[in-house]
Each structure stands twice: as C-alpha cells, then as structure tokens.
C-alpha cells in the first residue's frame, strides 16, 4: 500500500468516467462468470456421462458426451479469451489500483489460478481433438475427464478466495485467514453446486429449443428428449442444495459485512433480491412441473408429482410476496408506515423473511427431493419412452434454462453492488480507481462503515 501510494500520483488515469468503466467491467464479468460456470459444471457432467455410457452401455450417454466435449472445447476458447481480455485490458487499465492490490494480497492463489489454465488446456484439448482414439482405452479417457474436472474445481476454489475476500476481507498480512475468510466456504459450495445446475440447465435449454424447432425425425427426437430430461435432472438436483447454502452465505455476510447484508435484505437491493427468489421459485416450479408432465407424456399419471407441482407453486407465490409496498425498509420507516397494510401501513406480513420466506425455501427443498426421486423411479423402471415429450415440457425446459442464466447474472449484480461504495469492503472505494489519491494518515476513514448508510432494523421498528 505504501509503495502504491508513492507511485500513484505519477500515473495518468485512463480517460474514462467511473460509470462507464463500471458498466464495461460489469458486462464483461457477467459474461465471464456464465462461461466459467458452464465449463466447470460441464466437466463433471462430461465425466459422469462418459462413465455411464461406458459402464451401462448407453448410446444416449455416448452420443451426448461426444457432443458435450465439442461444445466445451469451443466455449473454452471463447470464454478463455474473454477472461484474458477482462484481466489484461479492463482490470489493469481501468481498475489498476484495485487489481494491483488484489495481486499483491492474493499473489499465490492467483499465480496458482493462472497455472491451472495450463492444466485445463492440457486435459481438455486432447479430449476435444482425439475423442475416438482416447476412447480405445475408455478408463483413461474417463480419468482424463475427472482430472479436467478436479483441475477446474481447484481453479474455482482459488478464484472464490479472491471473490469472497472482496466482500469479507481479513487482515492483509495473514494469507490463511484471507484464503479461508468467512464467506469463502459458503461461496465455494454455492458456486460449485450452482455451476453444475447451470450447466445442466443450459443442456436442458438447448434440448428445449431443439424440441420446439427442428427435432422431428423419431431417432433425433428421442435423443433430444432424453437430453432435455438429463440436463434438467442435473439442474434441479443441484439447485436443491442452493436454498440451504445460500441461507448460510447470507448469514455469514450478516455477521461479517453487515452493511452489505442490510443493503441486500432490507435496503436498496432488496427488490433485486425479491426478483432473485422469484426466479428461484420459477426454477423449482418449472422443473417439477416438467417432471410431472414428462411422466404424463409417456402415459403415466402421477398424482404425487402433481401435488409436488402444486406445493412448489404455492411456495413460489409465498416467496414472491414483497414484505412491504415500498422499495426498502428505509422508505417504510420514512413514511412512518411500519404497520400491516390493513392498519393503513405498508408492511405485508406474509412477505417477511422469517418465517415465511424460510418456510418457502424449506418447502422447495423437500418437494424437489421428493419429485426428483419419484421421477427417477419411473426412469429406472424403464417406463418413460424417449420422444414422447410435448410442447409444454419443451417450454418448461427453456424457462428453467433461461431462469438459471438470469439468476446467475442477477446474483452477480447484487453481490457486486452490495459492497456499496467499496470494491473491497471497508478497504477500497470504487471511485478511487479513476481518480486515485493515496490515503493519508489522517485522511478519510476507510476502515469505518460507509457513510450515508443508515441502518434501521425491522425489530427496532416494532419491538
């Protein structure tokens, strides 16, 4: 920090306003996150699919693995270039102060991160270019896929250390504490699970579009139908863990970055968060609806799955209810209207996080486990005939795919904006990037809470 402070005045800032820089970085990073999540989740689906094709002699799995590896190889080329562009051009050019500080604080994790790309290339491109040849020793090919997945997981673990450090930093001189900062493990599980669900959802999305559009030949239609349900089971199966892990993630933010938590749950970002849980409800309800209708399309009635769909729908309504008719709690407080709407206030008691939104989350989790189980029971008994899928299932697949993609982008938006004026909570401000003045000993207090954030708790309002 001292070195940087001495150097900084000599640097001429890039002539771009902070607002434009923020938008540029945000757009590129959102795309980068989607690509990276697709790669990381796709690798494990690839390994499992190839293994299933090998052991269960399943043609669908074989055909799918071949297609997936081609897609992953192509998308890595594009996504990797995007990442390099983001790092080299945008970060070093626009947010140099932030980027150099991050590199200094987290030098070793970031170095390992960069090195892991070599491993990714070394595993992925042989699979991409020599798929059939490698298939002669099937165990070796599956092993390479597992290696690819492990490598990508380590990559993600390392970058999660960086990302979580920005929200809940620890003292700069203690690397283990920084690496295992309070939100690292929750973010790691949240993303690990989320990436697999995302990759599954993209596969379901592709299948959904093909079902609606082109796939008319019976054999192709059977494969696309199979692929849709396969992707969807991955997507819903892994989304099941998200309410639990996300809840804990928010809990750690509450304990260690209270202003961010307040902004997300009760402040200016609470509306975005409400849309977030609306999308979550859409994913669960759409996914469970698909499972119910898909079983029906093959001629089996499942009242239990219908009940699951209905319960999920009710939970969706519950979780989408806003907790007040204002944009944030501050407005409720300012309007002096912190009583239920039937007493002339702005509060909607059914929209409260505790207990109602929590109840909805528990409902989603339980109902989705039951639905997936019932669906896989039908599959394992060989009752479903591939190719039966109709239009409503295709639409459900597309809805789930689009929702998961949207929810990831929105989550990134919320996470980045919740840090308020900071890039690194309580350590570095966004507006220092283009117009940097080194902090003086008696200068603006960077360690205190953000000024202009007034914290009002609902329990203070009605004891």
């Amino acid at each position: 920090m001292h070195l940087l402070g001495a150097l900084a005045p000599q640097l001429t800032p890039v002539p771009i306003s902070t607002g434009v820089a923020t938008i540029l970085v945000a757009v590129i990073m959102t795309m980068h996150v989607q690509f990276a999540a697709w790669q990381q989740g796709g690798y494990i689906i690839l390994a499992v699919s190839d293994f299933m094709g090998w052991k269960r002699k399943s043609e669908h799995h074989d055909r799918f693995s071949r297609g997936l590896v081609t897609m992953l190889g192509a998308s890595f080329a594009l996504g990797g270039s995007l990442a390099i562009f983001a790092v080299v051009i945008l970060f070093t050019g626009l947010w140099s102060h932030f980027w150099v500080t991050l590199l200094r604080v987290l030098f070793w994790p970031l170095l390992a991160e960069a090195a892991a790309f070599v491993g990714e290339i070394a595993c992925l491109y042989p699979l991409y270019a020599r798929w059939e040849q490698l298939g002669r020793v099937r165990g070796l090919r599956v092993g390479l896929e597992v290696l690819l997945f492990v490598n990508a997981s380590i990559q993600m673990l390392l970058i999660n250390m960086v990302a979580s450090y920005m929200l809940t930093p620890r003292p700069a001189f203690n690397l283990p504490l920084i690496m295992f900062n309070p939100t690292m493990i929750p973010l790691e599980i949240h993303r690990f699970v989320g990436n697999i669900a995302f990759a599954g959802a993209i596969i379901a999305l592709v299948a959904g579009i093909r079902l609606l559009r082109r796939a008319k030949a019976p054999q192709l239609r059977a494969y696309v139908d199979w692929m849709g349900q396969y992707g969807l089971v991955w997507a819903i199966g892994f989304t099941i863990a998200q309410p639990l892990v996300g809840w804990e993630y928010a809990k750690e933010i509450q304990l260690h970055a209270y202003a961010s938590w307040y902004d997300m749950m009760l402040g200016g970002l609470s509306v975005a968060f409400l849309f977030q849980v609306f999308l979550l409800g859409l994913i669960f309800t759409g996914g469970i609806f698909y499972l119910w209708r898909r079983v029906r399309a093959s001629g089996f009635r499942s009242p239990a799955l219908a009940v699951c769909t209905a319960l999920s729908f009710l939970a969706w309504l519950l979780i989408s209810t806003p907790s007040s008719l204002a944009w944030s709690y501050e407005s409720v407080f300012a309007a002096n209207a912190n009583v239920p709407i039937w007493q002339g206030g702005l509060l909607i008691p059914w929209g409260a996080m505790i207990p109602w939104k929590l109840t909805a989350l528990v409902t989603f989790t339980g109902v989705a486990i039951v639905a997936i189980t019932l669906y896989l029971k039908h599959v394992s008994r060989g009752r479903l005939h591939w190719g039966d899928a109709g239009k409503s299932q295709a639409v459900a697949l597309i809805a789930v795919g689009v929702s998961i993609s949207l929810i990831m982008a929105l989550m990134g938006y919320i996470r980045e904006n919740s840090r308020g004026p900071f890039l690194i909570t309580n350590h570095m401000l966004i507006n220092q990037q283009q117009d940097f003045t080194p902090p003086s000993a008696s200068g603006p207090a960077l360690n205190g809470p953000a000024s202009g954030v007034s914290i009002i708790m609902p329990s203070d309002l009605h004891p």
């Binding site: 809990k251 509450q254 304990l255 209270y258 708790m457 329990s459 203070d460 004891p463």
Partner: protein, 161 residues
C-alpha cells in the same frame, strides 16, 4: 377359577406391584427438580458512578443458581450493566449475558456495536433487543436495586424488551 389360573394371575399382580414399588420413587426422583423452590439474596455489583454511559460493562458476581443441589451455593455469572441514553434519559439496565437461543455466553462486540453470541450468531442491541440471528427473545434482565449509588442484583430474571 382354576388353581393354575389363580396362580398365573397372582404372578402377574405381584410382578406389577413389585414394579410399581420400584418405579414410583425413581420416577419421583427423576421429576423432583421440577418442584424445587429457592430464595435469592441481593448481591452487590458495583458503584454505578463507575459505569460509562453507552458502554455495556461486564461485572462478574457470585449468584445462587436457583433450585440447585447440595453444594457450590454460588457460581460466577456475568452481569452487563448498561447505562443507555434512551430518548434523552439515561436508563440503567442489568442484562444477563446468557443468550436466549441456546444459553451461550454473549459479549459486547465493540466493532459491531452489538451483543454477539459466538454459538449461533445471535445479535442484540445495547438494551438487549434481539436484532438478528436465531434468538427468539431479548436478553433477560437481572432484578436490580440501588442503595445510594451502589448497584445490587439478584438471580431473578425478568423478560427484556
């Protein structure tokens, strides 16, 4: 009734009676803590002139555990003495540092300016109001009385707000 039938009934009855004789005092023994009663004396804490306004201050006092058994009449407990500036009047509150969620030991966190429970992350305001995390109710308050400026508490808890 045959002789044999009579004896079988006798065995059953004697067995049941024997079991009852053994079980009754044991059940009573198990349930006995519910019926304990105890008296609580006043214990001196501090001179309240030494307690700063707006800074919860911890004092360790020896308090009887009500209804406790045969030994260790008093155990050390922490009392948080709070002089809170509420609507322009300083109010004196003697808070228990026992979390209302799972009864762990909460402490005043200077950085967060809240009472923090390390077990499950419960948060309380300066006057003990539960403002975050799992606690279902505010921190309990010890009954206190002032003799001059000397503060006394006793191990009788009232609900907080």
């Amino acid at each position: 009734m045959s002789r044999r039938r009579f004896m079988i009934m006798g065995i059953n009855a004697a067995g049941a009676a024997t079991g009852l004789l053994i079980a009754a005092p044991i059940v009573g023994d198990i349930l006995s803590p519910v019926f304990y009663k105890s008296k609580q004396p006043w214990v001196m804490v501090a001179d309240i002139r030494h307690v700063p306004v707006g800074v919860p201050t911890a004092y360790v006092v020896m308090l009887n555990d009500s209804g406790d058994a045969w030994q260790v009449p008093a155990v050390p407990r922490t009392v948080y003495v709070v002089k809170a500036n509420l609507s322009n009047a300083v109010q004196l509150i003697t808070l228990s540092n026992v979390c209302t969620h799972m009864q762990c030991d909460v402490h005043w966190d200077v950085n967060l300016q809240v009472f923090l429970c390390p077990c499950h992350g419960g948060l309380y305001s300066m006057i003990g109001t539960n403002i975050g995390g799992p606690p279902p109710q505010p921190l309990f308050r010890y009954q206190h009385k002032l003799v001059g400026t000397t503060l006394y508490v006793r191990n009788v808890l009232t609900e907080g707000q």
